[in-house]
Homo-oligomer: 343 residues x 4
């Protein structure tokens, strides 16, 4: 049994089926094809943004790098939670593009509108501000790296404070499907409140690929050339688009295989969470999504390792260690049963 992550199975069966169907067809390169166009239109409709720029990239770190470098002016930095993926786990990809990451203390992986407001205000009240990297945008993850969620109200407040200071709000949606499935926040809400975001594929059912969305693009932005320059454009762009085109088929968000697959993961994760709580385990974050974190002793961790795989989240502290169990659209409920039995 494997609970390391949500990117262990190849892809949603509907995508495999679509691949078979397409195998004798030919499509033009670099996203100029009809399937890419169809996928873009589905995303625009779900976002309620008919003019949105939509491009399909390969992975999460790449998408963050491309988008942040697109949204910032060269001398600006990106404000984020200190636990944000870009702050820690991207090997300096943001700095590679010349930008400073400006981490704020996080609470369960989240930052607040008030923190952002304070940071920007304090920045401009510093007598030396012209010598200091200015906050040029805000980066959040939904769900966060700890599986927690921003409420609609929190997102609205973050959006308002960003607009007050004229800096874009960007949402890293590597696991966005699980957030959509766990709340009633819609893609249209996200598109209304954020200046850019991506709809995660890799962790939510595709084989690879993320859909980058700019709800209200400026004219002549040359986003295509920008993407290519980062090495992020692939020749068979339609193979990425096709995966989103397949998973986002449906009249409404809730009718899509994307949403439904993620709902399954949430159901299984909640069963596991309840069992953990019932058995008295220490859950450092109360995650409503598909990632469940548990603090255990090193010997317990060792014991688990004999039966299954999980993700060790951080270096141990003393003889305690925090581990993560992740469910996904592909999780077998019997595996969750067996895991619960082992607790």
């Amino acid at each position: 049994m494997h609970f390391d992550s949500d990117y262990m199975n190849i892809c949603h069966p509907l995508i495999l089926q679509r691949m078979q169907e397409l195998q004798d067809q030919q499509f033009s390169g670099y996203g100029t094809d009809s399937i890419s166009q169809s996928a873009r239109q589905k995303i625009r409709a779900l976002c309620n943004c008919p003019e949105a720029e939509v491009q399909f990239l390969c992975g999460g770190t790449q998408t963050n790098m491309v988008m942040i470098n697109f949204l910032l002016r060269s001398f600006e930095g990106v404000v984020c939670a200190e636990s944000g993926h870009i702050a820690i786990h991207e090997s300096g990809a943001i700095e590679f593009t010349g930008h400073k990451v400006l981490p704020l203390p996080a609470k369960e992986g989240k930052i607040s509108a008030e923190q952002v407001d304070d940071y920007v205000t304090t920045y401009y009240s510093d007598p030396n501000w012209p010598h200091i990297v200015p906050p040029g945008m805000v980066y959040i993850t939904q769900p966060t790296e700890y599986g927690t969620l921003y409420s609609l109200s929190e997102l609205e407040q973050l959006s308002a404070v960003c607009r007050k200071h004229s800096i874009p709000l960007y949402l890293d949606g590597a696991r966005l499907g699980y957030a959509l499935a766990a709340t009633n926040i819609t893609l249209a809400d996200i598109a209304r409140l954020c200046d850019a975001f991506y709809i995660g594929g890799t962790k939510c059912g595709t084989m690879f690929g993320e859909a980058a969305v700019i709800p209200h693009p400026k004219p002549d932005h040359r986003f295509f050339t920008h993407i290519k320059r980062h090495g992020a454009l692939i020749a068979k762009g339609w193979t990425t688009a096709m995966q989103f085109d397949t998973l986002l088929e449906g009249d409404t968000l809730t009718a899509t295989p994307y949403y439904q697959g993620c709902c399954h993961a949430i159901t299984e994760a909640m069963r596991l969470r309840k069992a953990l709580q019932d058995k008295g385990y220490t859950l450092p974050y109360l995650s409503p999504t598909n990632q469940q974190f548990v603090e255990v002793s090193l010997s317990q961790a060792e014991e688990f390792r004999r039966h299954l795989t999980y993700d060790q989240w951080e270096p141990p502290h003393g003889n305690r260690v925090t581990i993560r169990f992740a469910t996904s659209w592909a999780t077998d409920p019997h595996d969750i049963d067996r895991l619960i039995d082992l607790l």
Copy 2:
């Protein structure tokens, strides 16, 4: 009928079949899995380099960017043909990483060992050389952007001159399969003569992905972190590796589906080339591989466009234009028949 390029079909049928077989299995992330290990071992064996570093990336521009930035010291530039992909069609991805591209006049897309020798020698004889970007490596494409090929002897000479000047030789193998199929140069030859190269997937039968090879890596090179920092690492790395693992199955290079698929493309391209020559068309380059370039009038180009698609290679010169027909592992021989009938 579509002859725009060799990246129009989804992927080799054996890959689709393998995907089906793997759909209920789970693999760990970032290339730490058993399939990635198997694919690496096959490549090491074909290259006759048991210690080779092998990593799987997403696309050609990305791989060039990652590899060139890995091979060069920060202040060095990369010598290449003026028609080289990195010099023109990568939107400045090499400059994005801080390196100057140093183009040499090319003959049918190729540069010679003598040119490289002259360039390096002249560089160090310039009284102002410390103020000038030093040639830090040589980049070649095999086949070239015009479908032409370096002979084994030419490769040996380039390799020798690079080693004489202690600068690495890097080979962009976006279409390497077609070069292997059109000559008796082997992967072991490439690995013996080059300091780094990649085995192209996207244009030779995979859905996406390229296999970057460093035949004799230095210890502690942190190539993994380097890749991640360029946004070039995907979570489900095993899905890329799996495609190479499938196409490179076989006791020898010639027994692999990779090689055999490319042989098919060459056969069809040679049929087309003969027909073009027989009918008196002007072929600006005598390409022995799957890309065939033809100079036609604008009205002929227009006429072709009514029946099929092709790639217009450059802006027209007067009322003449050079167009490209590409075959691939997936080309239907009947399409070539029909194209020949249209000539």
Copy 3:
């Protein structure tokens, strides 16, 4: 005798005198002082641009790097003469900031409006243009690296073509004083025709420093922070400004020590040029400014070396070599007499 360059003497005597006068005074840092303000006002008046942004930087390569990276969008390249300083002699400083240098064939160091127009037009007529680095600005040097000059009419044509294509025109004025002294083109002309430029100090009489000018800056451009981020801001910015404040004192350009010092250099250079021509030397470029290039045999070059220093411009071709004699604001006329005697 030293004719290597125009940057061999410490600085104009008026600057040394001003330093003495200021030695017990104190000024605030980073250009916030009254002398910097005075120097900026003088430059604005000479440029007839009361709102111009003026900043004082340390050297020419630095100023080119800072200005080009400021004027270009991240994915754009800079069009210039193939002999342009940024294309060759800056060790890749432009590429360091991520931009491709796009060289055009040059005639006596110059490019024409027609060439620029063709380049931009051809770019957008290439079917693959979105994959190619777009021309985002034009860089010229006045005088050029060969001492030649753009006429007012040529500058007007270049300016017009840049405005037609909405790309900025930037003028590298490392030796601008010598161009001003050799023509009746004024700083107001330069400011009217260029979108950015710099007034060279180091080669025209200051100890160090260049004055970067943006005639019509956009609001909120954060140029100060941009400069600092390139390591180009020095704490005692007023010491740079003070040198321009001293050399640009005067009611009109022609009344300034800056202009007059450069006039002296031109006078001496013209005496030398006439002597070279009279004695039948081969002058590859007919330079009207302070740099005079002569093609000589290696043995002549050797013979000169016994009596004086000069700059060898390029690697020898066969037994011929091009050397440069430079005069400056500080050239002793007796040295020119002695050099003429040696010819």
Copy 4:
């Protein structure tokens, strides 16, 4: 009266005198001259490192950027105090070169060997370490941004821990003269313990310029080209070198004008510190060097402002604010008397 900083006077009188003496002489460019050679030799002798690489740059931020980008491999980050100059006041110059700044909690501006050891050890014990920016060097300031000092023992411990982990130790000596004057740590000690450092000029008596030192350079390091590529090389390099050549004249460090000028600043700063303490002011850091920080009420700060200038260090906290008084080699003792009277 001006106590804002130590960079308000033009330069040490001996430098002005030397400039006068040199005004009719000519020197070759880019540091190839005899004065640069002389200055290098003096620094090598004082450092007891006859093979040291010594280059003269323009300012502190530039030198940090050039040196850190030289010492790090492309994917590595630089460990420093959270209050370190590179972490805050350089507008992202380090990130501009692609490197992440890795700040540690600081105590009076300092970090300890134990902190560095923990950081490196923890890094490699993180199961995800290959995805995280590795600590590639350590940056310290001496004196720190708060005027405090590392003791010889603390430097030795930092050096030892860096060598244990094979990462270089780099010392930012923007105000190094004041540290040398306040302790018995010598340049030879610094050169023995650090892998690179710079001897600050701008804040210690020169008009501009810093002397970058690599005690034990590797062969073929192309440091010159590296500097040029950062726009950090000026044509009249000898004017920078000349200032160090003048201030470092003397048989021993303590005999140099550089040392003696800084001693004067320390004497005056200690008089001020004693007066502040005697009158019951709150000194947040007990600085033994030329920067003295005092916490005052906003109304006191306002009152001071009527008589003199100082540096406001940070945004106010409530109605309290920390301000800085800086002395320098040029401080008039009567000004300190007058300031003490105002307390």
